[in-house]
């Protein structure tokens, strides 16, 4: 049950780290010229945001601990932290927006946006990891199929947030094979996404230093491929384990240990992503004084609330994240909009089904 606390701490740390993993010219989701990135208004807004996030995280941990007896409360606290964190982000950035507008920070500042015109070299997918994921997913199909006769009857159809079975049903083929089949599709999906990313052309935003921008882009590309491979392996192993647990006739302790191990395994790439990105951005900050190249364009008009990309002109369904590494949907594209509409509905359904029962 208390496996949500490390998750809350990780999410809180990620919220606090947002300014550290963002490009220094996009503090709290506001484009500023590099010469203004250390402005007093900017540093004060970042400090305020971080302290509020720390307070919110502590409050959430305490609240989650105090209500630990209530089934599903941890998930609700976690959801609350994410919503409040996003609210804090949206409010904390306003002083920077106002100062930028009042002082015409971009007036007279040369800006450019670059792109690779010919064949580009990007980090290759970690094919060995994706092959391993697919092999595990295939094993997840073969094992239940080969041992169908030994599967429990009735079969566990639904589990609560602690992994315990709450609903049993008949043992048809379809039920036993659903989770392994979805796992295989997801593993294949990770491999396809990893390949598709190598075909993309992303903007090169100079931020006053073309060489540094290229270096950050290459590093980000490598990090994304490693993270995809890691999530694929961990996700496949966890889902396959879930599919074969009926064969093991597991105890509650075994399920608890599995959930803890899974949570920690999923937290590792989150922490790693934050650490690697923060380190790369810190290197960029350290070399700020030698920059003389053009700035990146002021693209605030394309980012609603600072973090939702909306550009109907852009044919890309996914664009590089403004904060951290990876990609996010373009709300101005039909597919991206669909994801933005489905995501909150999916979260609500998950809360109602898994948390509120």
């Amino acid at each position: 049950m208390m496996w949500t606390i490390p998750m809350i701490v990780a999410v809180g740390a990620a919220l606090v780290a947002v300014p550290r993993i963002s490009r220094r010219t996009v503090p709290l989701g506001v484009s500023v010229p590099q010469a203004r990135s250390e402005d007093l208004v900017v540093t004060r807004a970042i400090r305020t945001y971080q302290w509020v996030c720390i307070a919110l995280t502590l409050l959430t941990v305490l609240g989650s601990w105090a209500t630990r007896a209530a089934e599903g409360s941890g998930g609700l606290w976690l959801l609350g932290l994410i919503v409040c964190g996003m609210g804090t982000f949206s409010v904390s950035r306003l002083p920077i927006v106002r100062a930028k507008r009042a002082g015409s920070w971009y007036e007279g500042v040369p800006v450019k946006i670059g792109a690779v015109l010919t064949e580009q070299r990007t980090a290759r997918p970690v094919w060995a990891a994706h092959a391993f994921s697919l092999a595990v997913a295939m094993a997840g199909i073969v094992i239940p199929w080969a041992t169908l006769a030994t599967l429990p009857d009735p079969y566990p159809l639904e589990r609560d947030s602690s992994g315990q079975v709450v609903r049993w049903g008949d043992k048809p083929w379809g039920v036993a094979m659903t989770v392994p089949a979805i796992t295989l599709v997801v593993a294949a999906g990770f491999a396809v996404i990893a390949w598709a990313i190598t075909r993309r052309r992303d903007p090169i935003l100079p931020d006053g230093d073309w060489a540094k921008a290229r270096s950050l882009r290459d590093e980000s590309s490598r990090v994304v491929q490693i993270a995809l491979a890691y999530f694929s392996v961990i996700g496949t192993v966890m889902a396959t384990s879930l599919g074969v647990t009926p064969l093991l006739r597991e105890s509650k302790t075994a399920v608890d240990i599995g959930l803890w191990a899974g949570s920690v395994a999923l937290l590792v790439p989150m922490v790693w992503l934050i650490a690697v990105t923060a380190r790369a951005q810190a290197r960029g900050r350290a070399e700020a004084h030698v920059r003389a190249d053009p700035d990146s364009p002021d693209d605030d008009a394309l980012w609603k609330l600072g973090f939702i990309y909306y550009n109907t002109e852009d044919p890309s369904a996914f664009v590089p994240k403004r904060m951290g590494v990876g990609y996010e949907p373009n709300a101005g594209h039909a597919l991206g909009l669909l994801i933005y509409l489905i995501a909150p509905i999916a979260i609500l359904v998950a809360v109602v089904v898994f948390v509120l029962g």
Binding site: T118, E313, P315
Partner: protein, 136 residues
């Protein structure tokens, strides 16, 4: 090979893309047969409407510098080592150059200084330093 555009410039984006590609061909960064990014991928990279990239590529195609086929997409069709241009092109190019040089003279740039500029630009093109200057 990278190109950069200025989204705030008074020069239209399609014209900037066309100019950067011409410069890349001129300084030898792009050679005959080099495949250019697809319209959608370039539009995504610059966060612009694909029609803008289409317009740039169409312009280059009409000038004979690029060509398109269904298999490889858009590629460089003529580079600086290609056959000598016809008299019609030279006449048109000479006219445009006259306008640019006259603009300098009108602003008070002297004959010697203009020759210096021309020499520097030709040297940059020969050494391939025109398009990559920003990235160094």
């Amino acid at each position: 090979m990278e190109i950069a555009v200025d989204p705030l410039s008074t020069v239209p984006i399609y014209q900037q893309i066309r100019d950067r590609i011409v410069e890349a061909i001129g300084d030898g960064k792009l050679r005959r047969g080099d495949v250019l990014g697809s319209v959608r991928s370039m539009a995504g990279a610059f966060r612009i409407n694909p029609a803008t990239v289409v317009k740039a590529y169409e312009l280059l195609r009409s000038e004979g510098l690029v060509a398109t086929n269904a298999k490889t997409g858009t590629f460089v069709a003529h580079d600086r080592d290609g056959e000598h241009p016809d008299a019609a092109f030279e006449g048109d190019w000479s006219q445009r150059l006259t306008t640019v040089l006259a603009e300098g003279r009108a602003r008070g740039i002297g004959h010697e200084r203009i020759l210096e500029f021309c020499g520097e630009i030709c040297n940059r093109l020969d050494s391939g330093r025109t398009t990559q200057k920003e990235g160094q």
